[in-house]
């Protein structure tokens, strides 16, 4: 599936896949980051780090299908003063090399950038073994890591730049299919600061990644039914934007969290943990329940697993009703 592309359905105009935007940004940033090195594990043509590799062959290392070693090698390069970036499918880089991320990167707080591509069920036909649906939870459990999940090509490009500018370990999640455009080229992107894409007073939809476009679509549908929804793109899961969550809870009194990730430990968990502490309000979730994905077209899976604007709108209506009762 190396080079093949696919896309998800939306009423918004389609942009590039976030993995493509990441790959182009990395290639461009290679110039100003002279100490940037990239370690691949035989998937550079899927993750798009090969574009950096073709331009900077001396700063690109392919260690073979060996993610644990890949992360350890990056740790060594980082400890020696480089900014070291590793990338593979989210499922492999996070799960296969978790102890190495924990012990060799997080514990010594090294400047290693970890990019997990092919995240979520939206990769489609390859099926569960290749779908990272627990990566955000695991990455958030690495002390000191920043964790980002950009929604479209513009924010993936900005997130790549922010990741390199940040001193310390970062996990960046990107996806395989072409996704709808959310932002103009000059949109703001600050680590830890949510972007308010629509304002509203009845409910706040907190989304990231693939779910931002359906969240906006849901807000439009809700507006026509007299429900006014705020939409936050929570592109940084850690550190979470507590100010934006506090305002959402106080101003709208109800929250829906939408993400392409397992319920446990994802954005929903992080939002709930913080809102419960700051200003408890009813919350509903649109995410993956306690199961693996499977093979199928991205569209069929998104529908079957309920990652749609209709499900977000349904959850919003339910949480607004819960607030009133």
């Amino acid at each position: 599936m190396a080079g093949a592309s696919s896309s998800v359905k939306s009423s918004r105009p389609l942009g590039k896949a976030t993995r493509d935007a990441f790959g182009r940004a990395l290639e461009a940033l290679g110039e100003s980051y002279g100490k940037l090195v990239v370690v691949d594990a035989d998937v550079g043509n899927s993750t798009r780090t090969e574009w950096f590799g073709l331009k900077y062959p001396d700063r690109f290392f392919n260690v073979g299908i060996a993610e644990s070693n890949q992360v350890g090698v990056a740790a060594g390069l980082a400890a020696a003063g480089h900014t070291a970036l590793v990338s593979s499918f989210a499922a492999f880089i996070v799960c296969n090399a978790y102890d190495q991320l924990r012990m060799s990167v997080a514990y010594p707080r090294l400047n290693v950038k970890v990019v997990g591509s092919h995240a979520g069920i939206s990769i489609g036909e390859d099926g569960a073994s290749q779908m990272g649906i627990e990566d955000v939870s695991l990455a958030c459990s690495l002390p000191g890591f920043v964790v980002m999940v950009p929604a479209d090509e513009t924010s993936a490009k900005a997130a790549t730049a922010a990741m390199l500018a940040h001193e310390g370990p970062v996990y960046l999640r990107v996806g395989r299919p072409d996704v709808p455009k959310i932002y103009d080229a000059d949109a703001p992107f600050t680590i830890g600061k949510a972007n308010k894409l629509a304002d509203g007073k009845d409910v706040t939809i907190v989304a990231n990644g693939l779910m931002v476009a359906p969240a906006l679509e849901a807000a439009e549908a809700l507006a026509s039914q007299g429900i006014s929804a705020r939409v936050l793109d929570m592109h940084t899961v850690k550190p979470i934007d507590r100010d934006a969550l506090a305002a959402a809870a106080k101003d709208t009194g109800a929250i829906v969290v939408a993400e392409e990730h397992l319920a446990h430990g994802g954005l929903g968990s992080v939002v709930a943990m913080n809102v419960a502490e700051i200003h408890p309000v009813p919350i509903r979730y649109v995410n993956l329940h306690d199961s693996f994905g499977e093979s199928g077209s991205p569209e069929a899976l998104i529908e079957a697993y309920g990652l749609t604007a209709a499900k977000v709108a349904e959850a919003a209506k339910a949480v607004v009703a819960a607030k009133k009762s």
């Binding site: 035989d42 073979g64 644990s68 390859d126 093979s295 199928g296 077209s297």
Partner: protein, 286 residues
């Protein structure tokens, strides 16, 4: 070695014909799916054909859960189509079902899922894990004293995974002569030639250092494969590694060279070339 092939039911010529059928199935189902790994599947056809239909694997398609069955683990799970084709010809499921590969709801997922389909002995797709599971099966068979033999196929790129060598060391320690690992040495992995990406040669030497018996064979030659499997079965006191020298996409090599893509990794044959590919397989020239 007497008796090893006592349930051989087919002559070498009919086995070769069956191998051609598996190749055609692989091509058709991946083209129909619009994704998948036909070239990775086709290099492995002779080994899979010999195992399932050459009298080696004690496996009844109508009773795929028999406790004392032999097991085949496809550690390089992306080559699932070759396994599905074999299981269909074994009668585990109807042959037409092959065309549901990778579709929503199908038991024939992109990578093997043992929860969904009988005959799958390990859920694979994250490379590097199958040989350890094979060690577990081999140890269990020793405890059960049921004579079950486990065969594991890995890729050559897959040998980059450290877990492979952890498994190799443990199989050597326990002298598992009921375990055979076949390395599908097709010379390519995802991003290029296996020698360029990560040279693991000598593969046989590495396994030998962990206490394995080793053989290096032409893995696209059915007779050689059969002889190698016979020797593996007869080897006592240690596991066997067969380094199976193959060609990725064997059966459609002419077409791949015309398409200027010898690796052809993770791509289905475009529908416009399918007939040509099938004709080349039928001609059987390699």
């Amino acid at each position: 070695m007497k008796g090893v092939r006592k349930n051989v039911s087919e002559s070498i010529e009919s086995l070769k014909a069956l191998a051609r059928e598996l190749r055609k199935d692989i091509l058709k189902m991946t083209t129909e799916a619009g994704s998948g790994h036909p070239s990775s599947s086709m290099s492995a056809v002779e080994v899979v054909t010999a195992l399932y239909f050459g009298g080696f694997l004690k496996f009844d398609g109508k009773n795929p859960k028999a406790a004392d069955r032999d097991r085949f683990i496809l550690s390089k799970g992306h080559a699932a189509p070759v396994l599905y084709a074999a299981l269909a010809h074994k009668g585990v499921f109807p042959h037409e079902e092959l065309m549901t590969l990778r579709k929503f709801g199908s038991r024939l997922e992109g990578h093997p899922n043992m929860l969904r389909l009988a005959g799958i002995e390990a859920s694979t797709g994250s490379l590097g894990q199958g040989l350890s599971v094979g060690v577990g099966y081999a140890l269990a068979a020793r405890l059960a004293k049921n004579g079950s033999h486990t065969y594991v196929m890995t890729g050559d790129g897959e040998l980059g995974q450290g877990q492979i060598w952890e498994a190799a060391a443990s199989a050597g320690k326990y002298q598992l002569d009921n375990l055979t690992c076949i390395v599908d040495r097709n010379g390519y992995q995802q991003t290029g030639s296996a020698l360029d990406v990560l040279n693991m040669d000598p593969i046989d030497g590495k396994f030998a250092a962990f206490g394995w018996a080793t053989q290096v064979i032409n893995g696209n030659d059915l007779e050689e494969v059969i002889d190698a499997l016979k020797r593996a079965k007869a080897t006592k006191g240690r596991p066997t590694c067969i380094v199976s020298l193959t060609k990725k996409g064997f059966g459609m090599l002419k077409l791949l060279s015309k398409l200027k893509d010898e690796n052809f990794h993770g791509k289905p044959m475009p529908a416009k070339h399918l007939e040509e590919a099938l004709a080349e397989v039928e001609a059987g020239l390699g």
